[in-house]
Structure formats: structure tokens, C-alpha cells
């Protein structure tokens, strides 16, 4: 059944990182796709509620968070390139920069939530806010989990446990973090741009 996942091209490179993370990534993408599609169709059925909800959103926070996650993903790419050059300490430093950009996301998201909740909007207010909190908080939880992974990978890199011959762990963490970025790339226009 999964034969479509086996490439016949002998020159094809293997998937970066542990193969198991890619099964996990596909499962995560599948779950999020249901939320994305449900959001789009709920918007179709409740255009006035969604238009009103959109106006109340802190769209600057949405933009800052998108830039923070893209930048964080870039730092993770640099970490992978560093370990491919056998520079374990440099890899750890790039991962720490990625974590710092991740922290920007966390603080901005908490600021956004405190503003929204402070204005009296909760997940129980209406269907827009139910989806807004469900989607963004579910993604927020994935960012936190991704940061825990990056901390673990960074500490191992700092201890010199990765090298040019052994960097699958770095690629595994990187793949998960890029998935978190990819999901936000979809969430951003869906929630903060299209109206």
C-alpha cells in the first residue's frame, strides 16, 4: 500500500533524519489539514462572524510571529549545515539562535492572547474565536514541543555528541521544526490575511 513512498530513482537521497519522524510529520499534517479545511468552510458558513472576528485580531502579532518562525527555521538550516561541516559547537550556537527566535514567537503569542482575552474574547465567544483559539493554541503547543526537541539537540551538539558521521539527530529535530514553520505558513494567510 505504501509502495508509492519507495523511489525507483537510485540517485535519490534518503530522507533527512530518522524515517520515523516523517511518518509523524505526515500524521501531524493530516490532523492540521482537518482544522484548516474546517476553518475555511466555517468561514464560508459564517461570513459576518468571521469578518468581525478578523477585525479584532492583532495582525501585527501574526506578522511578527511569521517572521520569527521563518528566521528560526533559517537558523536551524544553518545548524544542519554546520554539523555537516563537523562544527558541533557552531551547530549548537545556531540552534540557540533558533530557540531565541522561537522565544520571540512564544512571547508575542502570549501578548496576543492576553490582549484578545483581555478584550473579552474567549473560545466560547463564537465560532470564529473557537477556531482561532483551537488552531493557534494547537500550533503553539507544537512550537513548545519543537523547542524542547531543539534544546535537547543543542545540548547534545554542545557536548560534541554529533559529528559529520553522525548527525541524524540534528536532521530529525530540524525536520520537525520546519514542519512547525510550514504549518504556520498556512495558518498565517488563513487566519490573519484573507478576509
Amino acid at each position: 500500500m505504501l509502495s508509492f513512498l519507495i523511489d525507483k530513482n537510485p540517485d535519490a537521497k534518503p530522507l533527512p533524519g530518522d524515517a520515523a519522524i516523517w511518518v509523524f510529520i505526515l500524521a501531524e499534517l493530516g490532523v492540521f489539514s482537518l482544522f484548516f479545511i474546517a476553518f475555511a468552510f466555517a468561514k464560508m458558513l459564517n461570513p459576518e462572524i468571521f469578518a468581525e472576528g478578523y477585525q479584532s485580531l492583532n495582525r501585527v502579532a501574526g506578522l511578527i510571529n511569521t517572521l520569527a518562525l521563518i528566521t528560526s527555521s533559517y537558523f536551524v538550516v544553518r545548524a544542519v549545515l554546520a554539523i555537516k561541516n563537523n562544527q558541533s559547537q557552531l551547530c549548537a550556537r545556531w540552534l540557540n539562535w533558533a530557540l531565541l527566535a522561537g522565544m520571540v514567537y512564544v512571547f508575542v503569542k502570549m501578548w496576543e492572547y492576553s490582549e484578545t482575552i483581555g478584550a473579552g474574547y474567549t473560545a466560547h465567544t463564537n465560532v470564529f474565536y473557537m477556531f482561532y483559539f483551537l488552531l493557534t493554541f494547537f500550533h503553539f503547543a507544537h512550537v513548545i514541543f519543537g523547542m524542547v526537541i531543539l534544546v535537547a539537540v543543542s545540548r547534545k551538539a554542545k557536548r560534541g555528541e554529533y559529528s559529520i558521521d553522525n548527525y541524524s539527530g540534528v536532521e530529525t529535530g530540524a525536520s520537525y521544526w520546519h514542519m512547525v514553520d510550514l504549518l504556520w505558513i498556512i495558518l498565517f494567510p488563513l487566519v490573519y490575511v484573507i478576509h
Binding site: 535519490a12 479545511i37 517572521l67 521563518i70 527555521s73 525536520s175 498565517f188 490575511v193 478576509h195
Partner: protein, 94 residues
């Protein structure tokens, strides 16, 4: 564009992709201010979504040289979600 990118070293390529992603993100945010709403904003947003997704899949996730099935599967994800968003929007205004 891919041929040009392949000529760069890995750091140059990643930096260029990062700058492109930052630029189109700001562009999308500006569009949401200048376009009140409508099909143009919708289509431009979905095109940018697919472009950014493909850049991340190819150059950050490094799937451009792995088995094509994986790359296609991931690319299809962004296209299908974008398609659903367009269909839902058009059904809403029709």
C-alpha cells in the same frame, strides 16, 4: 530559478531563500491592508502560501533531492489546502 539556486553554495542558497520568504510574508501582510477583501487578495495569498511552502519543502526540509514521491506529497499538501480555501471562499460569495 532552481538552476540558479543550485549554483550557489548551501549557505548562500539558504540565506537567499530566507530573505525571499521574509519579503513575501511582508508583501502578504501589506496586501491584507491595501486590499479590503476579495478574490484578488485570496488568490495572491494562496499563490504566496504555495510558493513559501515549496521553498520550505525544497530548501529548508531538503526534500528536493530525495525520492520524488515525498516531495510531491508535501507539495500537494500546500496546493490541496490552498485549493480548499479558494473553493470555500468562492462557494461563500456565490
Amino acid at each position: 530559478m532552481n538552476n540558479y539556486l543550485e549554483q550557489l553554495n548551501a549557505v548562500q542558497r539558504a540565506t537567499l531563500i530566507w530573505l525571499a520568504l521574509m519579503t513575501v510574508t511582508i508583501l502578504a501582510a501589506l496586501m491584507s491592508i491595501f486590499f479590503k477583501s476579495g478574490v484578488v487578495l485570496l488568490l495572491a495569498s494562496v499563490v504566496i502560501l504555495i510558493f513559501k511552502g515549496q521553498m520550505i519543502i525544497d530548501h529548508f526540509m531538503e526534500l528536493r533531492h530525495v525520492a520524488m514521491h515525498w516531495r510531491r506529497l508535501m507539495s500537494a499538501y500546500c496546493i490541496v489546502i490552498g485549493g480548499f480555501v479558494i473553493v470555500a471562499y468562492l462557494m461563500g460569495i456565490s
